[in-house]
Symmetry: C2
Subunit: 345 residues, 2 copies
Amino acid sequence: MNSFTDHPHRRFNPLTGEWVLVSPHRAKRPWQGQVEDDVLPQMLEHDPDCYLCARNTRINGAVNPDYKHTFVFENDFAALTPDAPAESFEDGLLKAEGESGVCRVICFSPRHDLTLARMAVDDIAKVVDTWVEQYQDLGAMPDINHVQIFENRGAMMGCSNPHPHGQIWASRSVPNEPAKETENQRAYYEKNGKPLLMAYLEQELAHRERILFENASFVVLVPYWAVWPFETMVLPKRHIRSMEEMTASERMDLAEAMSKTTIRYDNLFRTSFPYSMGFHQRPTDGEAHDEWVMHAHFYPPLLRSATVKKFMVGFELLGGPQRDLTAEQAADRLRGLADTHYLAG
Amino acid sequence: MNSFTDHPHRRFNPLTGEWVLVSPHRAKRPWQGQVEDDVLPQMLEHDPDCYLCARNTRINGAVNPDYKHTFVFENDFAALTPDAPAESFEDGLLKAEGESGVCRVICFSPRHDLTLARMAVDDIAKVVDTWVEQYQDLGAMPDINHVQIFENRGAMMGCSNPHPHGQIWASRSVPNEPAKETENQRAYYEKNGKPLLMAYLEQELAHRERILFENASFVVLVPYWAVWPFETMVLPKRHIRSMEEMTASERMDLAEAMSKTTIRYDNLFRTSFPYSMGFHQRPTDGEAHDEWVMHAHFYPPLLRSATVKKFMVGFELLGGPQRDLTAEQAADRLRGLADTHYLAG
Ligand SMILES: O=P(O)(O)O[C@H]1O[C@H](CO)[C@@H](O)[C@H](O)[C@H]1O
Ligand SMILES: O=P(O)(O)O[C@H]1O[C@H](CO)[C@@H](O)[C@H](O)[C@H]1O
């Protein structure tokens, strides 16, 4: 095990059944490639040109309400629409099927200049409540079997508006990633009679090598099989299959976990840290799914500084993911950071 | 089938067993997000500061030879090294194993200012010969069971030096993607007695909807299940399992196919088109692998212009890939372009 800190090795992800190549010695590589723009803080609390700010008019003429906490609306350029025909097509190796669904946008706060990392925990708790409501509302629709809640944070992650917001894409089909997680969790549950992620959390709590934050209900850790340089996972301490099973205090604890994680991220390179983040939880297909443990994944691209990211390109796309520091090294660095925001008073 | 041109649908990739979400109506979405730098052409034929140019000194003190066509050397910052111990580790859900291998760099030409798109077909044929040699040389090593040949083209794809070059990462393990392709090709072969990709090519040659180029030995097409906006695949017309099975004229035809594809890409947005490209072919594990058909994948990120790319982020990372135009629309656009380079006299 010891030599794994210095030598290339592969680690297995039991949730997806896939491997990641870890090359710890490679962190010394100099970088002469593309450098990203650093992120300047947003100065305006209300931007008259922002289509997500309260009271402003969106591209389709709709006027946003004077919202005080969160605000949800249907995506004006939805990738999924409710009316897509359900027909399917198969001709030899060509195989397709109609896909229907709903895409929504959630504004996290009326304040244009904030991010999760700089919002109060009480205000993040309002976002958590909105996620739960949306999961229930969308999940109850007849043709919706999966609800994907996520946030693309920062221009580097394809986000085209700095106003704090996330998205939900709810669909008839269970997408690839949660489908793999369902399959692997189910196989483990059938074999071992307990949920894979509960067993995994027990191991992590025993080792404590990869944990960066913990409260009464949640643990934030760098998974053993992390792909992105500072990837983390947020796991509940008890068996919660999906969001609506959280108690009031668990919702508050989740808000705190989201806050502490994003603050540490911003502190790492003293920048508004980009990431894609989202929740995986049980499909809304009406089955019990006792194998499922809800969790969040943070996939942040930065590697060395506010402007140098990890590129998932040639080998990664054609072979498999590769990383330059171990999960333990990443956890060490994140754990060592202050958990108050570097811009705070 | 017809409604699939206008409505969201999913398509199945029989090589990987995964789905892609296609949202053709979404191409109308305005873009206010991150805009990439346009690529300026390289002016110098020999750059004294480039560590890949002939006669220059690399970071480790080695001096490049005065090469005239291609030049291969071991990567100075290799992600894989031959000496990594082969030990394996398993403790509950933590599972890892040592991974050894060899990483090499291939300079495609001494000319610093060229790219595959602007090289003569005869000179690309020298690159093809080098790929074949390397596949054979590395594949014959005792602990090398897979040879991944690839190119990251352009800073947007993590390439840190514009000098035309590619890489090879050869490893003990077969990485995730070729492992999935092996499994699915094998299952198809066992069931149908012919290779999956030969059957697929027959269908494409009958429809001709997604083909952009064809010569005596190779076909270039946008696969039915393409993920990246202008993704293409290069397929041989006869059952070739791996590179060294190509005849002399097939090598020349492959060089022409690579040339015509990269020229069309550059012409699409009149820029030096970024992509990751690589070959999938039979693992070098000593088995026959009659199910395998060698092929190349081009994964280019640009979506709308030389500076607006497709982001594979929130939904894509947490759910599954999504695209905004159909494979047929992409093929139409690529087919309609000139196959002489826009910069050529
Ligand atoms: O090997 P290079 O050119 O230094 O690095 C580039 O290609 C590698 C293989 O796809 C990636 O892992 C790196 O993220 C990328 O920057
Ligand atoms: O929906 P948006 O914010 O317009 O778009 C962003 O998120 C989507 C979901 O991850 C991606 O498909 C887009 O590439 C990205 O730019």
